[in-house]
Symmetry: C2
């Protein structure tokens, strides 16, 4: 297991973590100033900054791009909607390529409006990924399915376990893997086994950290800083690294009432401190 | 699959559904008045009414007791705490026996205060159940492990899939099965397979219904009435009945801002209508 106790270069900052008070340019500058080694920007932030400008600034700051957030959201109520979603994923792949990202994270989507057909949504997701995979392969951009916590199954992503994500990877072949976020998967009794399975195919493309707070007061925007909750993050990092993952640990915290309100420089200092002591 | 379109006798009312405005005596009377065939009382409601009085009234009303809520909550920070929890489960078994309940539902408990050791909590749960199982067997009271939604893993129950619950059942042997609540398990891609597995051992002891609302505004108290959300309840009931379950469909709705505020007679009428049209 890697020693992170003095590290900042294996830390990547998901740009959502300070998005309320800094724009992407400020986040890039902040990462550089604090010695943080990577960044994971969101597409709306990239669009606001301009793709070329964002790519230039990230390169100039010497940051790795641990992932681009996000592709996915494949299911739709009709074929026109599904086609639009696929086109949007093609653009997302191109943006990830322009940023030299290590992967494009896929939040695959939930049930289309008005649907109760979970199996159909699963099929639409797999079809959608299959439809963009050739473009991803041709551009050497790995796609990372991120299984989300089951509480997001209806409206964000109905791939909710690492096993399900890997089953899809097995069926689709090369060019696709997984993003493992401790927040989404920590509860899974099958986690250690599935992480080892993911490692055998070299399919762990990203590792995201934050913490599960008790109590959690909001289903989306109450994630905790590493160490403030109940996830044994180091145990999971050990499993992930034992399985061969050697990328960055990406901090991704949605926290409307706490971290999003704080001074972003303080947030970055805390991320570094917890990366070194807790992750 | 059973035809419920004119049925009220295969409907059971979990007494939490109207607990804010009626006490247990009123709920028993309400069920009888509406022709509802069963009830599932909570232990605090039983205590308030008095165990003998509750048993007498339920019997007099001709209600089946589809389950008693609840035993479980086994993990604790020290052996003294675990011992107390086991003693409390013994009392819960005795109460369920006194009420001639069809099972005692187990909400197994989450991480003890301050713990991040999920594996240890799993062990404590299995040990705890093993410690009360002889008493349950001797009194012919089936124990029903209820896998809860993974969003409750930290603080309520860290058995979160039907597979995990059945694995525990397999290890512990006779006298134990599962309570399947659509709210907790609807998202699971392995659900159909695991329901069939549960059926092979005759281990489906209870079937609970409500609905998952989009959006869900509270992690605990925003469950929906059947038909108001996105769960394909009838599909799951078909799986459960195909697996051999022939018990009642128990409606269990925690809804602080909607159903708990309404006239309980209206709530019961709606439960019956949705039981016949949606479940």
């Amino acid at each position: 297991m890697r020693d992170l106790s003095n590290d900042t270069r294996l830390l990547s900052l998901n740009a959502a973590t300070v998005r309320q008070r800094w724009d992407l340019k400020q986040i890039i500058d902040g990462c550089a100033r604090h010695g943080i080694g990577g960044i994971a920007p969101w597409r709306d932030q990239i669009a606001e900054c301009g793709l070329d400008e964002a790519a230039k600034r990230i390169r100039h700051a010497g940051l790795r791009v641990s992932g681009v957030c996000r592709g996915g959201m494949f299911p739709a109520i009709d074929s026109e909607g599904r086609k639009k979603n696929i086109e949007d994923n093609i653009r997302a792949i191109d943006e990830a390529v322009a940023l030299a990202a290590e992967c494009l994270v896929l939040v695959v989507g939930g049930l289309p409006d008005g649907s109760r057909d979970l199996s159909d949504a699963h099929c639409q997701i797999e079809d959608g990924i299959a439809n963009v995979l050739d473009h991803a392969r041709a551009n050497a951009m790995p796609l990372a399915i991120e299984p989300l916590h089951p509480m997001y199954a209806a409206d964000r992503a109905c791939v909710n376990t690492l096993k399900h994500a890997l089953d899809i990877c097995d069926r689709l072949g090369e060019g696709i893997g997984v993003a493992i976020d401790v927040y989404h998967v920590w509860w899974d009794p099958d986690l250690e086994v599935q992480i080892a399975r993911a490692g055998r195919g070299g399919r762990i493309l990203a590792f995201h950290v934050c913490d599960w707070l008790v109590p959690t007061t909001d289903m989306l925007l109450d994630r905790g800083m590493m160490g403030d909750g109940i996830i044994d993050i180091r145990k999971i990092r050990n499993w992930v690294e034992t399985a061969g993952f050697d990328g960055q640990c990406e901090v991704e915290i949605f926290s409307a009432e706490n971290w999003w309100k704080r001074n972003p420089d303080e947030v970055l200092r805390t991320c570094i401190e917890r990366h070194q002591s807790v992750v």
